[in-house]
Amino acid sequence: MTKLSRLARVLRRTAIHAVPTMLGIVIFNFFLLHLAPGDAADVMAGEAGAATEETLAALRSRFGLDLPLLHQLLAYLANLAQLSLGFSPRYNMPVADLIVQRLPGTLMLMGSSLAFALVLGTVLGTLMSSYAGRWPDRILSVLSLLFYSIPSFWIGLMLIVLLSVKLGLLPSGGAETIGAGYTGIAALLDRARFMVLPALSLSLFYVAIYARLARAAMLEVRSQDYIRTAAAKGLSPFAITFRHALRNALIPVTTMAGMHLGGLMGGAVVVETVYSWPGLGRLAFEAVMGRDFTVLLGILLLSSLLVIVANVLVDLAQAWLDPRIEVR
């Protein structure tokens, strides 16, 4: 079987797999959220200060909240089929628009954090495995353990104290200088300045994970027979590390990276709260607090989609890295 046809089969298998998972998630979320006490009408009535039974009933029928559960679910599914995520009573705008508005901020934050963590983590892990047991390994091990143990929201707050409050180097929150009216490169640099602290806070934990994972995997791989064979036929340590060992050691790293997308999203909720970063995470938190289920369902669905896509990519990457992985 050629590599391409093998990859195509993996792709087809995972794609077929993804559809029922998505459906399961939609239904799971829908019923889960309906377990919650109170609905959007209650919240709106509460925020308005007072409401009569009639107003509540009107609100409920306006947003279809008085229909039987199954009808509400079917209505939601029908809307989904038309790429509509419903309407948020609280924000008074379509959920899809709301999410599209917040999505870029979160994607930028997650993307830069993940890329930074993957590159730095793999480099650190490879370094550590090359010096296993010697002082560079020890120092990096302690450092990565420390990174691993620090809550992202706390390091975020401490970075604000040090870099914004005491030294005044970086902004402590927000996404851009309000009213500065920068354009082009200046606007980009301005945004980058605001992103440094949130991205750093979010990624430190993952840097540590990938460093530890890459180190363990490299050590495991290096004891395999084929590495000994490679050394015996006279390959340089550099070639052995990068062409033979790293490729196999990347398997656990890629598995974890795909799984971490959901984790990053969760981390973003906390970090976005710390830095008042206008992203999906903060929207999700506001939605939970306001019991705005339509918004929450939209966010959960979208992040689920993201993770599914990431998992397909990881499966493909693994099949490419290790031809032994079974194709069914």
Binding site: A132, L146, S149, I150, D225, G262, G266, G267, V270, V274
Partner: protein
């Protein structure tokens, strides 16, 4: 986890034929390793576990694991740190019998300003030291209980899916995927918000959110290990599924599970603190996360209110991680030998 001391050695001796002489692979590094008693370095005798050690069975190997663990300075540091936290948790009601949420002094006293409150007071005049001591109880209870829930569910699902493959695998993977695709922390926030925040709901919710990670990891390990020669050998010897899963594959899959479980306690503590930081903690108890959340309002003027609980969290989580590393080294002669 109790399987670990006995079984890796046994299965290794069975696997000795297809995968010979691990000790020889890293022969040159072995001499160097002797000089350091460090996490990354492993007791040299572990590399030469021979048939007669294996034949002696559990007691000798448990002793060996214990020795390796006690000799490991990083693991001992972690253990001492963790014992300190446990002691603090146990002493909390003795040292600070009053409600840590009670207002006892002048608000916003910096540490050292008043000898009665060595770590200062917060914006409502609550004793920071009392909060830290009482917070230790909450963190440890939530962390350990949530991990047990997550491990039991995760290993069961992961082992069955990874070993049997086929329809069982497809079904269980769907279940895992549904749970894992939903971002864990967001699901956690939703679950806790629905069930109303309390210690019990937070613990169960963390367990529900963490099991898919274990299941996936275990499944991946099982899928890769079941293709190995020693499993084929066990099959050709006519061993049953239960024996192959529990005595052949599981011990070999344990290294990542053990690392994960120690890390799970740590991350459960982190999750609990993040939840209470965001105001979704149990409102009736003081937690490190809620202290940070409250201190955040005064970040610019009284940053110690944020710094102190955070340092304690890092200390506890670091202790657990060090301990986990040490356990991993001690319990896994197979992995140790390969390093």
């Amino acid at each position: 986890m109790r399987l670990a001391p006995t079984t890796p050695v046994l299965s290794r001796s069975e696997a000795a034929m297809p995968r010979p002489a691990h000790a020889a692979t890293r022969g040159s590094a072995g001499g160097q390793d002797l000089q350091f008693a460090w996490t990354n370095v492993h007791a040299p005798d572990a590399a030469r576990v021979t048939a007669e050690v294996a034949a002696q069975g559990a007691p000798a190997d448990t002793r060996r694991a214990l020795r390796a663990f006690l000799k490991n300075p990083a693991a001992m540091t972690g253990l001492v740190f963790l014992l300190l936290v446990i002691t603090a948790a146990l002493l909390a009601p003795v040292l600070y019998p009053e409600d840590p949420l009670g207002m006892v002094g002048r608000p916003i006293l910096w540490p050292g300003q008043n000898a009665q409150f060595p770590l200062g007071t917060d914006s409502l005049g609550r004793d920071v030291a009392a909060g830290l001591f009482h917070g230790a109880r909450i963190s440890l209870i939530v962390g350990m209980a949530a991990t047990i829930i997550g491990l039991v569910a995760g290993i069961t699902v992961g082992a069955l899916a990874g070993y049997f493959g086929g329809r069982i695998d497809t079904l269980l993977v769907r279940l895992v995927e549904i749970f894992q695709t939903i971002p864990g922390f967001i699901l956690l926030v939703v679950l806790v918000a629905i069930a109303q925040p309390s210690i019990t709901t937070i613990t169960v919710a963390i367990g529900l959110v963490t099991w898919p990670t274990v299941a996936r990891l275990v499944r991946a390990e099982f899928r890769s290990i079941r293709e190995k020669e020693f499993v084929m050998a066990a099959r050709s010897l006519g061993y049953g599924h239960a024996r192959i899963i529990l005595r052949e594959i599981l011990p070999n899959a344990l290294p990542p599970i053990i690392v994960t479980s120690s890390v799970m306690v740590a991350s459960a503590i982190l999750m609990e603190s993040a939840l209470s930081f965001m105001g979704l903690g149990d409102p009736n108890v003081v937690s490190w996360g809620s202290m940070i959340g409250a201190g955040r309002e005064l970040l610019r003027t009284a940053w110690y209110l944020t710094a102190l609980p955070g340092i304690v969290i890092v200390f506890t989580v670091l202790a657990l991680n060090l301990l986990g590393d040490g356990l991993n080294d001690a319990l896994n002669p197979r992995l140790s030998a390969e390093r």
